[in-house]
Subunit: 214 residues, 2 copies
DNA sequence: CGCATAATCAAACGAACGTATGAAAATGTC
DNA sequence: GACATTTTCATACGTTCGTTTGATTATGCG
């Protein structure tokens, strides 16, 4: 078999457990029990626990970046010479993640957690390699699409954008608790639309900087 | 002494350790060693490790909500009969948190982490009690200030807002890595202004909902 | 002072952790 | 079918974990 069954089950279970309990909170025993495999299988297949986390992340992160870059290229092409709209760029940025969150909510939750568990050099390295090159391309494209906004401001605002969807994709339960909304299943398309509405307006807002540049 | 020294040192050290390593990653031994107190002091003063976390959160969360509510009341008063502007409301919502993040970055990081470690019933309960009542008041005020935006949309957008500042307050190091900005010290006032610019525009954006209400 | 209460301390407990080991079973190849 | 390789398995090792205990010291107060 080209794709060992135990390996895949371990990745699935680890994705689930790491997302729900964090790296420290999910024990190798929990994960292997959930995967129905032996205790030693993690060390055999991935070296150690951290190697397992690395593979869990790498397995899907590349897909998101590929989706983003593909949609961005499509938007650039569709604009035909001119710069794509801010909306189109942000949709290319947001949609692949929201869609991934719909298909693999555990992975979305894990990614969000990893943004906050910065103590792993591993995670920083993986994020750097997987996301940041693409991210810089988006900043460049946004700078062209919103020429009146200073590039510094664009960089901040792309992070506000990341923060917005990272936050809402991990724990919609809390949001529904507060909003008391009964639309309990957030349709990925509707969520993307909401996010793009919000972030595109924010991205193009005039900067009220009082010229305090040092 | 009315404020026992050991207790305070434990809270400070726990805030720091929990923020940096998470609840599971920070051991009681780490915390007591950092506080210079005995291993058993956590259990003596707080019952157990989770009780320590509860006190760490409660110590500061109330201040943030008080700050928000006070600034909101001020904005309502200043508007004199009319509804305050969206900007004023969002500034009242954001500024106390950003200021707190400036004064106590460890607490800000901890709060962000806690948003993602939802497995503690404790955290959910504390958040509900500490924040959500105030949050609903902000939603109501925003609904008046932006009457053209459906209330459902307002609720989503206030969460996008929370996501934006939760994200940027926890780990500015990563952001600077990507932006390669050398303005390494994010002034709280400048950060608040940036966030308000972004979120106020997003809050008032026309909703491009295609009327797919179920 | 004398005494009750509060706080600190060193030491130890059982449990759970990540990992290592060597034998057993499964798999692929000739 | 025999052999080499890969994969599983039960088991054990050494650490570290959160918590408990009982003695010891400090503190508040009449």
């Amino acid at each position: 078999m080209s794709t060992p069954l135990t390996r895949e089950k371990l990745l699935d279970s680890a994705e689930h457990m790491f997302a729900r309990r964090g790296f420290d909170g999910a024990s190798v025993r929990d994960i292997t029990a959930d995967a129905g495999s032996n205790l030693g299988s993690v060390n055999y297949h991935f070296g150690d626990k951290q190697g397992l986390l690395r593979e869990v992340i790498l397995r899907r992160a590349k897909r998101i970046v590929e989706g983003r870059d593909a949609m961005l290229a499509l938007a650039v092409e569709a604009a035909g010479g001119k710069a794509p709209t801010v909306r189109a760029i942000l949709e290319a940025f947001i949609a692949p993640t929201v869609n991934m969150a719909g298909e693999h909510p555990d992975f979305a939750a894990l990614m969000s957690r990893m943004h906050y568990e910065g103590r792993f050099a591993l995670v920083g390295e993986v994020f750097e390699r997987a996301f940041h090159k693409s991210l810089r391309a988006f900043v460049a494209e946004l700078a062209k699409a919103a020429p009146t906004v200073p590039e510094d401001e664009i960089k901040w605002r792309i992070f506000f954008t990341v923060g917005a969807f990272v936050f809402v994709t991990i724990n919609p339960r809390m949001i529904f608790t507060v909003t008391r909304s009964d639309a309990a299943k957030p349709d990925p398309r509707a969520l993307t639309r909401r996010l793009v509405d919000f972030c595109a307006a924010g991205m193009q807002a005039p900067a009220s900087c009082k010229g305090v540049r040092k």
